[in-house]
């Protein structure tokens, strides 16, 4: 039996504003810095559109509010509701496949009459929560059938989302689930074996890919083959970043974005605008802010005192890194084009709200009372 020690009474830090509001000052600072920097970049990328800036401000407001609300739920509370959340998410995903609205050639949206809702967004949180929930009372590291069950908990939503098709989100969710497995202590032997199987399975995956997805991979490998067609995005974004040089062309002076050579400059390719206008220096600054957020997230996870919080918190931090790496890798030509936004910078709302809810959970983990003295 674990012995509870009431630390609320004597610990002075318990009474500071962070614990009262259940917010983590350092994480919040990082997020606000990234958002403000992001607003500057977006203002330029949108062609100095006040309307875009206002809408993004509203979204950020909603996202930060969501974060603050999520931070109020105690981890134990989240733990109790996790299976319900996951179950509802699976049902909604099935409903999407049956009744969903079609947007941009994929079924992702569920129209609930008053609101259009993307269940796959919810699963970005629900999947790592579910796997962490599953491991919360198990002895770690997990072995045998437990791994298999955890694997299924990840695979089912991933398959459903891949069917929509939304390869980007499904891969991201697979990563989030996998990070829980990894942090829980998945054996290295198994890890290497799985990697080998994945490599061998790539041709099979190719077979199941949609034509546009195959095209993206081909374009990634040889963008110069079709400079005005599918390779155009990546060529233009490389030109934008490369022409920015060390210190950039200056804010609002990027020609690639403003003269419309760079497609999707406000959304998925906004990183190229940053590179063009602020140069390598600006990119390093943004990456430093991101790194700060990730390190703080991982620190919070290591300080957590129960398995559920630890695994969930660690997964959220690493998933945030994946977001950044996939987007920047795509824009710089290191990775194939996958439609993922750059967190807190790209124009767009839905994924930002989910992301900030995740940071809310991290803050909750950090600021709710702990079992042991820290």
């Amino acid at each position: 039996m674990t012995q509870y020690i009431d630390i609320n009474r004597n610990d002075a830090s318990r009474r500071d504003w962070q614990h009262l509001l259940h917010l983590d000052a350092l994480l919040l600072l990082g997020l606000i810095c990234a958002s403000i920097f992001g607003l500057f970049i977006l203002y330029s990328a949108s062609g100095q559109s006040d309307a875009v800036l206002n809408r993004q401000l509203i979204r950020l407001g909603i996202a930060f509010a969501t974060m603050a609300i999520a931070a109020q739920f105690q981890p134990q509370w989240l733990l109790r509701w996790t299976p319900w959340l996951y179950g509802i998410g699976i049902i909604l995903l099935i409903l999407v496949l049956v009744f969903g609205d079609i947007g941009k050639g994929a079924q992702r949206w569920l129209n609930l009459g008053f609101i259009r809702f993307q269940p796959s967004e919810m699963m970005k949180l629900a999947v790592p929560m579910m796997v962490a929930w599953y491991f919360s009372d198990k002895r770690l590291p997990p072995r045998g059938s437990r791994l298999l069950i955890a694997g299924l908990l990840i695979a089912i939503p991933v398959m459903l989302i891949a069917r929509q098709p939304d390869l980007g989100t499904s891969l991201l969710i697979a990563c989030a689930g996998f990070f829980v497995l990894f942090l829980a202590g998945l054996s290295w032997r198994l890890l290497i074996g799985l990697t080998a199987i994945a490599a061998a399975g790539a041709p099979v995956l190719w077979h199941f890919m949609h034509e546009y997805q195959r095209q993206r991979v081909l374009t990634f490998l040889h963008p110069e083959k079709d400079p005005l067609g599918t390779g155009y995005h990546i060529i233009q974004s490389k030109i934008a970043i490369g022409s920015g040089g060390s210190f950039g062309k200056g804010w609002l002076n990027g020609t690639q974005a403003h003269l419309e050579f760079l497609p999707e400059s406000s959304t998925d390719f906004i990183f190229a605008v940053l590179g063009e206008e602020f140069g390598l220096a600006g990119i390093l600054l943004l990456l430093a802010i991101y790194a700060f957020i990730i390190i703080r997230s991982m620190y919070i996870a290591t300080q957590a005192q129960d398995t559920y919080s630890r695994l969930l918190g660690g997964s959220l931090g690493l998933t945030f890194f994946i977001y950044i790496f996939v987007n920047t890798g795509m824009v710089t030509g290191l990775l194939p084009v996958v439609g993922l936004p750059l967190p807190l910078v790209s124009y767009g709302g839905t994924s930002m709200v989910t992301l900030m809810a995740g940071f809310g959970i991290l803050m909750s983990i950090q600021t709710h009372r702990k079992l042991l003295p820290t």
């Binding site: 002895r139 942090l183 970043i241 020609t255 695994l311 290191l334």
Partner: protein, 615 residues
């Protein structure tokens, strides 16, 4: 929360998590290092290349074609000008589906097969970011229609430009020439960088000879465009330098008169001021409209011109080579006086034929009954062939050749229109070299009356006549007075060409010849006496009739029975007033018959117009 309570090794799990978190962070850090390496490569090492690519994206260099210089006649009458016209251009790189766009365009704008063909041909030679013309000279209606539908056609533009126009139509077309679209052959000859914005180039005549003067220097503008190719602003502009205007020596009114008196007759006439070498009229007949060629002539019209029996496209004044016939006689006679101790009083008897000593063959005079006793003056006046057979025989071919060449026979006159033919002045050496045959004395005889091998061009004959009129002052004829820069600071280029003076033995010899030529027109028995009446000034002239094909010894020439194409050419050379020549002229009427009957009256009208326009 699961109900079952599991004993967990808290410390072990905490350390396991810590280890895994550190591994994950290290792994993330490695990926971040890879990303930053990539960025350093793009932004530091490849920065210059991408910078260039970025500028290439947005900065386009647009050539600014200079305005072509205008061409005026000697009195400032405009002969070639530039009129505004609208053309439709397509920039292929901005058009996704060219065939569809062409089909849609053809619904609002007339597109002929040749328009499409030319477009596709040009497309292969032009970088895809450069606009390619599809149609020229859009009608106002087409321009308006396209303006309405413009949004449907990205990459298609209407460009206002200037198009060459010849307001006088066919007037002086063989001197003026015309411009046409640049083609592959032109591209090989020109400095393509200076023609990057130019669509037309001089193809013939003055337009071709003075291409460099007329064209000007192409300017450039560096423009910033967005991804759609729309021009946002001009970064730098080097304005084009317009071509220089050209003032011709031609008098448009006289030129028009020459063309009028010839009518539909095939032939040529060149009139010049003998004192300066300035060409006053330069006509080859029939004429055609140069405007037809400016923007591509259609095949049907072109074939009509090509297949016309009268060959309107052929520049007879410059390239037509004709036997001079009797018009050579004054020059031969002068040669005999100056270089061969003949005197004007030496006379011979003309029985209607001439025989070389010891030979049977009879060289016939045009007058079967003979002229009787002939002095040099009367031989020129009546154009006695026998007298000149004898003169030629006395002089020999090489002396004839040497003296006649002083007047420019057998050589290009050097007029500033390219493509001139040289004519032919035979000599023993020439025959040996070109025919690999010895010279026969009989050939000397017929050279003396301007037949046989000898060929002249109308410009050559006119220039020789002018030389005769000015007592041996041989001036290179010219058709351009001055080229005037559109930039007033630049002085007009002077075009003075030194005149050569033929060495004169006896001034009176020249006077005798000129007197004889006056007799041709004004004498009682002159071959051109019909034009010598009711004239307020004196004309010195000489008729000529050039055989198109040789008659056998006993064959009789009968104009009625001979096909028109084989009839004799009618020639007349003249200058007036005889004592103070203001105009020298050579005229040829192809297959016209005798010089006295056809060419002389035409020349009279032309000279009248020039010297006494009121009569």
């Amino acid at each position: 929360m699961p109900n079952r309570v599991t004993i967990k090794d808290y410390l072990f799990e905490s350390h396991l998590f810590m280890r895994r978190a550190v591994v994950a962070l290290i792994f993330s850090g490695l990926l971040l290092v890879a990303l930053i390496s990539r960025l350093v490569f793009l932004q530091v090492f490849a920065h210059e290349r991408f910078s260039t690519l970025s500028d290439d994206n947005r900065i386009k260099i647009q050539p600014l074609a200079p305005n072509r210089g205008l061409i005026f006649d000697r009195n400032g009458v405009i002969l070639a000008e530039n009129l505004p016209s609208y053309r439709l251009e397509i920039t292929p790189e901005l058009v996704k589906d060219l065939d569809t766009v062409l089909n849609n365009l053809s619904q609002i704008i007339t597109l002929k097969d040749i328009d499409r063909k030319r477009f596709h041909k040009l497309r292969k030679q032009t970088p895809s970011f450069k606009p390619i013309p599809l149609r020229f000279h859009l009608s106002d209606q087409e321009v308006a229609q396209f303006a309405v539908d413009r949004h449907r056609f990205p990459g298609v533009d209407i460009v206002a430009g200037l198009s060459r126009h010849y307001p006088q139509g066919s007037l002086g077309v063989h001197a003026l020439g015309y411009v046409g679209r640049l083609d592959e052959r032109d591209l090989l000859k020109i400095d393509t960088s200076n023609y990057s914005g130019t669509t037309h180039i001089g193809k013939t005549g003055i337009e071709k000879t003075y291409e460099n003067t007329l064209h000007g220097t192409t300017g450039y503008s560096h423009i910033e465009t967005n991804a759609e190719g729309r021009i946002l602003r001009t970064l730098k502009r080097i304005p084009p330098v317009p071509g220089n205007d050209i003032h011709l020596t031609i008098d448009a009114k006289l030129q028009g008169k020459v063309e009028e008196v010839f009518g539909q007759t095939a032939g040529a006439a060149v009139a010049l001021n003998p004192n300066t070498g300035e060409i006053l009229a330069f006509a080859s007949l029939p004429i055609y409209d140069p405007n037809l060629f400016v923007n591509g002539i259609d095949i049907e019209t072109y074939q009509q011109l090509q297949n016309d029996d009268k060959q309107p496209l052929f520049n007879r004044a410059l390239r037509g080579q004709y036997p001079p016939g009797s018009t050579i006689k004054p020059f031969v006679a002068l040669g005999a006086l100056e270089r061969h101790s003949k005197t004007e009083h030496d006379s011979i008897f003309c029985p209607g034929y001439y025989q070389l000593p010891g030979k049977d063959r009879k060289y016939r005079d045009w007058k079967k009954t003979g002229h009787g006793t002939m002095s040099m003056v009367s031989a020129i006046t009546q154009s006695c062939d026998v007298y000149f057979y004898d003169l030629a025989n006395t002089m020999g071919i090489d002396q004839l050749h040497d003296y006649l060449s002083l007047f420019g026979f057998g050589k290009r006159s050097g007029i500033d229109i390219s493509g001139e033919a040289s004519g032919l002045l035979p000599s023993q050496a020439w025959k040996q070299k070109n025919r690999d045959q010895p010279w026969y004395p009989g050939e000397t005889l017929i050279t003396g009356i301007g037949q046989g091998f000898m060929l002249t061009t109308p410009i050559q004959l006119a220039s020789a006549t002018a030389t005769l009129a000015t007592f041996g002052q041989h001036i290179k004829p010219r058709i351009v007075i001055e080229t005037q820069s559109a930039d007033p600071k630049k002085a007009p280029a002077a075009l003075t060409e030194g005149a050569k003076q033929i060495a004169i033995n006896e001034y009176s010899h020249w006077q005798t010849i000129i007197h004889s030529m006056q007799n041709v027109v004004h004498g009682k028995r002159g071959t051109a006496r019909r034009i010598g009446v009711n004239v307020s000034y004196t004309i010195a002239g000489k008729t000529g009739t050039a055989q198109v094909f040789g008659l056998k010894e006993e064959e009789k020439y009968d104009a009625e029975t001979i096909a028109e194409k084989l009839r004799d050419h009618s020639l007349f050379i003249a200058f007036a007033p005889a004592d103070n020549p203001q105009i020298a002229i050579a005229a040829i009427v192809e297959n016209g018959g005798s010089g006295s009957a056809v060419a002389a009256p035409l020349v009279r009208k032309i000279i009248d117009f020039w010297l006494a326009p009121d009569s």
